[in-house]
């Protein structure tokens, strides 16, 4: 049985008289011990999925579908039941480590807070944390606890957040854009960090990123998202080395090393989505069918692809 199963997840945000369709009918499973990547451009709905499955979205969000974690539907749990899962069984490493830490509290105090909230002995908790910090490449963690977040580099803040997220050894770790804005050295450090978490702790991870290199290095399988839906899903190496969907191909060509070729146009309005394929207007190989009929996701070479493209048939 999968550790996490997302079935037909849709999320809409009201915008005046209209609704913004952030996520449309997304389904995937994450196996135990697997690192599953969600990639795609900003606004494709990746982070919304991460927040939706922990029910951290604003109350105004209209959510449908099911999120089954260890056999339980997270959407039908009471708030008190959900509190036992958040941070303990499922942890979230939020986007922007600088914004995730309180700027006026020293780092040590913020680590203690995690244990205080869970009514665990602070001293015992700190001992555990310091051990974990050393394992996750943070040298001199005792000194680090006496500093404020602004005194740490981006990479160090990220490791600190990783330590806090792993405090209760969660079954599932959701990491949202962990390399955004980091320099190459810190990015390389992030790859080491996630490889270590994966190997030594055997953690199941949902990695939300637009960093294709990190995804290839760390993920077992990848789902590519566009305009709120999955357009391609397969093993990481297959998706990134032999992509099938024209959008995935476009993402790869946009990398500087592959020519810095931008995808033409912009993603569609999420208030009024096109009738046919959402990628149709930007696609270099679209046909008549693409503008009329929305493609279903179909099995293709061991994975899944949502495209009418002739070569798939």
């Amino acid at each position: 049985m999968s550790l996490l199963e997302i079935r037909g997840l849709s999320v809409e945000f009201p915008a005046g008289e209209n609704a913004v369709k952030a996520v449309s009918n997304v389904s995937f499973e994450v196996e135990e011990g697997e690192t599953f990547g969600l990639i795609g451009e900003s606004g494709s709905g990746k982070s919304v999925i991460g927040l939706a499955l922990l029910r951290l979205l604003p109350e105004s969000a209209v959510i449908s579908g099911e999120v089954i974690f260890q056999g339980q539907n997270l959407f039908s749990l009471k708030p008190s039941e959900l509190r036992n899962i958040r941070g303990k069984k499922i942890s979230l490493m939020p986007q922007n480590p600088a914004g995730a830490l309180n700027p006026v509290l020293k780092n040590g105090l913020q680590i203690e807070e995690v244990f205080e909230e869970r009514r665990v002995d602070k001293k015992e908790g700190m001992k555990r944390s310091l051990k974990l910090m050393k394992k996750l490449f943070l040298t001199d963690p005792e000194k680090l606890c006496t500093l404020y977040p602004h005194q740490l580099s981006g990479g160090m803040r990220q490791r600190l957040i990783a330590c806090m997220s792993l405090s209760f050894e969660p079954e599932l770790l959701i990491a949202d854009e962990p390399t955004k804005g980091l320099d190459p050295e810190a990015k390389a450090g992030a790859v080491d960090l996630f490889t270590k978490i994966k190997k030594e702790y055997g953690k199941t991870m949902l990695l939300i990123t637009h960093d294709l290199d990190l995804a290839l290095e760390v993920c077992d399988r990848i789902a590519v998202m566009y305009a709120g839906e999955i357009v391609e899903l397969n093993e990481a190496s297959k998706v990134l080395n032999t992509p099938v969907h024209p959008y995935t191909k476009g993402l790869i060509s946009a990398q500087p090393r592959n020519g810095l070729v931008p995808l033409r146009g912009q993603s569609p309005s999420r208030i009024k989505l096109p009738e046919g394929c959402f990628f149709n207007e930007r696609c270099r190989c679209s046909g008549i069918e693409c503008s009329k009929k929305h493609p279903e996701i179909k099995k293709h070479k061991g994975g899944w692809v949502r495209c009418h493209f002739q070569s798939l048939q």
Binding site: G40, E41, S42, G43, S153, G154, K180, G181, D183, P184, E185, A186, H210, L212, G250, L251, A254, Q255, P256, R257, L260, V261, P262, L263, Q266, S269
Partner: protein, 235 residues
Amino acid sequence: MSFPVLTVNELAMKFGTSEVFKNISFSVARGETLGLFGKSGSGKTTIGRCIVGLEKPTGGKILVHGEDILSMGKKEFRKLRPKIQMIFQHPETSLDPRMKAFENLIEPLKIHSGLKQDSLLKRGEELAELTGLRPEHLVRYPGHLSGGEIQRIVLARIMALSPDFIVADEPTSMLDVSVQAQILRLMQKLQRETGVSYLLISHNLEVLRKVCHRIAYLENGTITSIENINRGIKT
């Protein structure tokens, strides 16, 4: 005699007793993109901020069209200021969150151009078109726009003043790969059309190699080398 658009000579900066950089010298020709590469904390951004007058260096000269901006009076520098612009790293903090995108876009025109309302709106629309903004973007507040859309508005705002030189400080580090390519290609298009010069600050060498004519490497507070990428432009 024609001067380079920008010449930086023996620039030095100290914060208290700590030396950030020293002996920084380079020049940028019209229509050229000079990359400035270095690790986080190496002083790249501070050099950029000195050039646009947001920091005062502790030594050296900054010449724009041959005139030393550090020895200029406030009035004189204010006249030159529209010609040297800066794109900041964090798109989300670059615009006034209480003003809609179009108001943000035309604000520099209101301050510097002296255009009447009709011409001002027309020029604003032209700039929006030039930078690939759609009418629906222009009526939104910055909080409702993506990072790529905000960087387009920032570029439109900057181009409103027909600058000669733009310091672009990590303009795409917070953007995803496809939007990064769109913004960098847009900057190249604007350069071809207007002859604007860029100092492109980045820690991504792949990006710099793809779009710059030359790259200056900043290490331990000094420029260790300047590499010619040979993209067929004068250096």
